[in-house]
C-alpha cells in the first residue's frame, strides 16, 4: 500500500460521502415530515403518525388532482404511442418524398419550441379555441409537443426490426393496419413501452402547461395543486404539503424502479422536459 493509494482511497470515500449528503439531505424532509405530527421546515425524527394522510384524504382537491394527473398523463401517453407508432412505421418503411428533411425538421422543432418559447401563443390559441379548462385540449397540446421526439425514437426502433415477417403477412392477405397490430407492435413492444413511460413521466411532472391552461381547481393536476398548497395565503400548510408531495412522488419512483428492472434504465438524448 503506497501512500498515494491510501490518499486515493481517502479521497474517493470523502467524495462519495459528500455526494451522498448533497443528494440525500434535500430528500430527508420529504420522507420524515409526512410522518411527523407537527412538521416544521426542520428535518426531525418523525413520531410516525398517520394523521397527515387522513388530512390529505379529506382535502377536497388532493386526491382528485392525483386522478387528474393520471388522466392527463395516461391520456397523453396513449395518444402519443398510437400516433407515433403509425407515423414511425410509415416513415420507416416507405420512402416518402422529403422524408429525411421531415424527420430533421421534426427533431429541430421539438427541441426549439419549448414551453417557454410557446407559452404565449399556446395560451392565446387555447383561449381562441375554447380549450382553457379542457383536459382533452391540454392532452392534445401536450401530445403535439411530445410527438416529434417520440416519432424519432420509434423510427430508430422500427428501422432495426426485420421486414420479412411483414412481407409474409402481406402475402397472406393482411391489411396494413392488421400488419401493424399483429406483426409490428409485438416486435417493437419495448420501444412502445419506452415511449409510453417517457410520455407519462413527462406529463406527470409537467407544471407550466396545466398551470397556464387549467384554472378550474377541480381539473388541475397534482403539480399545480402542490404549488397552490405552498403559496396559499402566504403560509404553507406543511403537513398537507409534505404528505401530498410524497404521494405525488411515489408513482414516478415506482415507475422508474419498474422500468430500470425490466429494461435497464437507458434513457438518452433529448429525453427530459
Amino acid at each position: 500500500m503506497t501512500p498515494r493509494f491510501v490518499l486515493g482511497r481517502i479521497g474517493f470515500y470523502t467524495l462519495i460521502a459528500v455526494l451522498l449528503a448533497f443528494f440525500t439531505i434535500p430528500l430527508l424532509w420529504l420522507v420524515t415530515a409526512p410522518f411527523t405530527s407537527d412538521p416544521t421546515y426542520e428535518v426531525r425524527m418523525p413520531d410516525f403518525t398517520w394523521e397527515n394522510f387522513r388530512a390529505v384524504l379529506e382535502h377536497p382537491y388532493a386526491l382528485p388532482s392525483l386522478w387528474n394527473s393520471l388522466v392527463l398523463s395516461v391520456g397523453t401517453a396513449l395518444l402519443v404511442v398510437l400516433m407515433a407508432a403509425l407515423a414511425a412505421y410509415a416513415l420507416s418503411r416507405v420512402r416518402l418524398p422529403g422524408r429525411d428533411a421531415l424527420l430533421y425538421a421534426l427533431l429541430l422543432l421539438s427541441s426549439i419550441i419549448t414551453g417557454t418559447a410557446a407559452m404565449v401563443p399556446l395560451f392565446q390559441l387555447a383561449v381562441e379555441l375554447n380549450l382553457i379548462d379542457s383536459q382533452l385540449g391540454l392532452i392534445l397540446i401536450l401530445t403535439g409537443g411530445l410527438l416529434p421526439a417520440a416519432i424519432f425514437m420509434l423510427k430508430d426502433f422500427m428501422d432495426s426490426t426485420p421486414k420479412s415477417y411483414e412481407e409474409s403477412a402481406r402475402v397472406f392477405g393482411a391489411s396494413p393496419l392488421q400488419i401493424v397490430r399483429h406483426v409490428v407492435v409485438p416486435l417493437v413492444r419495448p420501444g412502445l413501452a419506452t415511449i409510453a413511460v417517457w410520455s407519462i413521466a413527462n406529463v406527470w411532472g409537467n407544471f407550466l402547461m396545466p398551470y397556464l391552461l387549467l384554472s378550474d381547481v377541480e381539473k388541475q393536476p397534482a403539480a399545480v395543486i402542490t404549488y397552490t398548497l405552498y403559496t396559499e395565503g402566504g403560509q404553507a400548510n406543511l403537513r398537507m404539503l409534505s404528505t401530498f408531495g410524497l404521494l405525488y412522488s411515489v408513482p414516478v419512483v415506482l415507475m422508474y424502479l419498474f422500468v430500470s428492472k425490466k429494461y435497464g434504465f437507458r434513457f438518452h438524448g433529448g429525453i427530459k422536459r
Partner: protein, 311 residues
C-alpha cells in the same frame, strides 16, 4: 379508418419488388396509406407546435394585450416590442441572469458534477454505485413542483436544515442569494443526465490507452487531459448543447423564487410569464419569446449538425 377494411391487395408487380415504384415497401404500404399513417401525428404537430411557433412571430409584431382595447383588436406595430425589449433594463437583467443560470448550473454545475461522479464510479459495480446513481436519478425524476418546495424548506433562513448543518443560522439563501440558490438547485436536479451520458462515454474509452498512460507514469490529471477528454470530446459537446438548451428554457426557478425578490432571479423563462400572462402584455411577451426561439434555434442547429457529423 378506411384502410382497415379495404380488401387485401394482390401483390402488385414484381414480388422481389426492387424495380418498380413503391412495391418494394414492406407490408404494401403505398405512398397514400403511408400518408394516412403519418397524417394524424402531423396534424397535431402542425396545430400545437408549428402553428404556435409561427403565431408567436406574428404576435410579437402586435400590441396585443390581455385586457383593454388591444385585447379586441390588436394593432400591427412592427418592431416596437423588440425595441422596447432592447430598451428595457428588466429584459437585460433577465438575460444576464439567464446567462448566469445556464453557465452556473448547466455548463459548470452539471457537467463537472456529472463527470466527477461518472469518473469516480467508472470501474465500480455493486451496491455503492447503485446507491449513488439511484439518488442522483431520483433527484432528476421527482416532480419539479415537489423538489422545488423541498429546497424552499431546506434553504429556509430560520428553520432550514442547511443552515443548521452548516452552522450559519440566519443565512438568507433565497432572499439574499436567489441566483446562487436556483443554480445549486438546478445542479442538484439536472446532474443525472450528464452522469449517465459520461458513464456511457467512459465505457468507450479503451482501457489499454489508460493503462499505457498509467505505465508511462502519467498522473490522474494527465490521463484525463491526454487520453480521456480527447476521446469523449463529442459527448462533452453534445451534453453541453442539450443541457444548455434545457436550462435556458427551464421554468422551475419560478417555483423556487417566483423570480424574486425584486426580479433578482427573474430568468427569461420567468420574465416571459410575468410580462405576458401576469401583466397581460402578450405582444411584448411574444417578442421576448421570439428571441428565446431564435436562441434555441441556433443551439439546436449546432446540436443536430454534431449528431449528423457523427453518423
Amino acid at each position: 379508418m378506411a384502410q382497415a377494411i379495404s380488401p387485401p391487395e394482390v401483390i402488385d408487380g414484381d414480388p422481389s419488388g426492387r424495380r418498380g415504384g413503391y412495391s418494394s415497401d414492406a407490408a404494401g404500404l403505398g405512398r397514400l396509406r403511408a400518408g394516412a399513417f403519418v397524417a394524424p401525428a402531423l396534424l397535431l404537430i402542425a396545430a400545437f407546435l408549428v402553428f404556435p411557433a409561427l403565431w408567436v412571430l406574428y404576435l410579437g409584431l402586435t400590441n396585443y394585450r390581455l385586457t383593454g382595447a388591444a385585447a379586441a383588436e390588436p394593432q400591427f406595430v412592427g418592431l416596437d416590442n423588440f425595441l422596447d425589449a432592447v430598451a428595457n433594463p428588466t429584459f437585460w437583467n433577465s438575460t444576464w441572469l439567464t446567462v448566469q443560470f445556464v453557465l452556473g448550473s448547466a455548463v459548470i454545475g452539471q457537467v463537472v458534477l456529472g463527470f466527477t461522479i461518472a469518473w469516480a464510479l467508472r470501474d465500480r459495480r455493486g451496491p455503492l454505485k447503485r446507491l449513488v446513481e439511484g439518488l442522483v436519478i431520483l433527484a432528476w425524476i421527482l416532480p419539479s413542483a415537489v423538489v422545488s418546495f423541498l429546497w424552499v424548506a431546506l434553504l429556509d433562513r430560520d428553520g432550514g436544515t442547511l443552515n443548521a448543518l452548516l452552522g450559519i443560522p440566519g443565512f438568507a439563501w433565497l432572499l439574499d442569494h436567489p441566483m446562487l440558490s436556483i443554480i445549486i438547485f438546478n445542479t442538484w436536479r439536472g446532474t443525472a443526465f450528464s452522469m449517465m451520458l459520461y458513464g456511457a462515454a467512459l465505457g468507450n474509452v479503451p482501457p489499454s490507452h489508460l493503462e499505457s498512460a498509467r505505465l508511462a507514469g502519467a498522473s490522474g490529471w494527465q490521463q484525463l487531459r491526454d487520453v480521456v477528454f480527447p476521446h469523449i470530446r463529442g459527448h462533452i459537446l453534445t451534453n453541453l448543447l442539450l443541457i444548455s438548451l434545457w436550462t435556458f428554457n427551464d421554468f422551475s426557478p419560478f417555483l423556487l423564487t417566483a423570480g424574486g425578490p425584486d426580479g433578482r432571479s427573474e430568468v427569461l423563462a420567468v420574465h416571459v410569464y410575468k410580462v405576458a400572462l401576469q401583466s397581460g402584455e402578450l405582444g411584448y411577451g411574444a417578442a421576448v419569446s421570439t428571441i428565446i426561439l431564435l436562441i434555441n434555434l441556433v443551439v439546436a442547429v449546432f446540436y443536430l449538425r454534431l449528431l449528423r457529423s457523427k453518423k
